[in-house]
Amino acid sequence: MSGRSWRALFSLEWGELVTSRAFWLFLLAIGPLVGQTFLHAASLYAEASGASGGPAALAQGLSPLDGIFVPAFGAYDLAVTLLYPFVAIRLVSEEKRNGAARLLLQSPGSIAGRLAVKLGGLVLFFLLAWTAGLLALLLWAGAGGHVSAPELANLLLGHFLRYLLATAIALAAASVCEGAASAAIVTLSFTLGTWALDFLAAGRGGWLDRVAKYTPTAGLRLFEHGELRLAAAAVFLLASVGGIALAAVWLESYRPVAGRVARSAAVVVMTAAAMAAASTLRWSRDFSEDRRNSFSRADEAALRRIREPVEITVYLAPEDPRLFDLERGVLEKMRRVIPDFTVRYAARTRSGLFERGGEYGEVWYRVGSRRAMMRSTIEAVVLQNLYQLAGVAPPAREEERSYPGYPLAARLRAAPYLFFGAWPLAAGLAYLRTRGRWRKKWKSVAAQAV
């Protein structure tokens, strides 16, 4: 296909997006949604910063990532989950319903190419929708708010990957199902399924917990905490690719259903295998400005010097809050740093209340042939003991620049007018403009005036 053909196809797809009501409803809703979450977050942040005359929280606790960016962009997670699927589904379902799909099946280029063009249009749509979030950021920065570019970029990457996955699921559902309604039910069922998985896996441990780490909600949470984990990003991407591949298989209407089912099974198996492999990737990067996902730089340098295998056996049940503290405060940070590191979860019950044997609550650390037990989940205590066990000199406690925190009682007087007034008005006018009604009405009004 020539460049001219690709541009024509993109224009057709973009035209379909722009003339769909779901497109405009999403754009209409996203402004006030982002505005509401942003303003609420800014108000709480201001209170915590001592705006209303009460005691201010410790400045170090006030991070714009947690206090402003995550809540503001959290509106996108909600919209992508509940509103956006209808936009993506329509792009395929309407084509099948009105006959355009049968014409396009005969056009130059491949089905994969046409899906890529649809994806391009939907990405452009998302960038357009992101202007509401960017408006919130501009208002925050304009009011003197602190913005950490790496933190923000990582958060936006997480939302983008989440969006890609939602797109892939919606396109796959629309390709497989006969109509838009069925596709919407399938897509929302998938979402509910992941929520159910999150709920079931909480406090269970084992394979269920490992799988639940990669649900859209859990995956996005990593980015919201300032961490870029290659495994999570790769799993999101591979799942998206698998969804698009599934859509391509089902759009091959010239292939018998049995053939498409067989190919779908192959796609699912290959995608699952790739995702399983990707989940073993260990590279990650802490983009949080307060380094909440990492030990101090000095500790990380010392831990990297441990060359012997480090194995930790944890006798804490999945529902035990001490396990959560240990995971969050110690084990996840160690996984990112220690070259040869494994953790074994040895508790036999879910809650630990009825655990038999006296070892419950113990955490055993083995470095090479040496072992030691401790019950503490406190980072400093664990590290000190680990250095002793590994025969590594603990690092000198240097003066590392601690996170200063960014209290701010932002003045955002214009924000409500922008998000609840100007944004819906602009979206409505743009909708009428694309429909041509505004132009016709204006012309008829002008003609009458003359």
Binding site: S5, L12, N98, R102, S107, G259
Partner: protein, 262 residues
Amino acid sequence: MPPGDETQQAERGALGPPEVLRASVSPGSRLLEVRGVSKRFGSLRALDKVSFGLRRGEVVGLIGPNGAGKTTLFECLAGVLPADTGDALWNGRPVAPAKRKDFLFYLPDQIAPWADQPAGRVLDLFARLFDAGPSRLARLINALGLSRFLRESVGSLSKGERKRVLLALALAAPRPILLFDEPFDGLDLRQAGEAESVLRGAAREGRTLFLSIHQLADAGRVCDRLVLLSAGRVTGEGTLDELRAKTGLADGGVEDVFLALT
């Protein structure tokens, strides 16, 4: 005849041959051979070993009663629907369904693609999608009288207006074989005549047209040869004279031959 009509008349015949026909294929040679195409929907046998051929530059009519399998045949040939068995041979070589779009284009009936976009925009973009030249599209628009409603959305057009837009869409696709399902459906007498003239012009330039036509009078007037389909089977194929000879109806019209063979 008003001056505008003369220009339209000239343009109907001068659409220019698609690129692919510049290959040396002699007029009258068999372009497409359909062999043993069968299709079942559950227990219903929609097509049963359908075989026939199409030659370059001819207009062939596919006629048959309701439920004969005409649309199913078109969709199987175009690769839109998978056939259970059978082949389509292009210049003597079997072609997989996914590849048939390289030499044929099928225009379904009762569709309203890109309904919310202006008809002119859809035509222009579709022609660009197929790398068809703008002059070709302009001649089609004039020949089919589409200028009046290019700004209107496809979905807001009347049935006949939309049919003419879709005819232009199909004729813009530079494919040597065109399949039209009910090309005159929704057109009044004058519009049907104009459409027929445009289709004849395309055939004179070397394109092969395969038309599924419900109105037997139209089929008899427009088509060089007929393929009669009944209950999924080909019950007759040939010119009207050949079919008369087959049925023994020396003076029979298309309706008489149709009733005898279906």
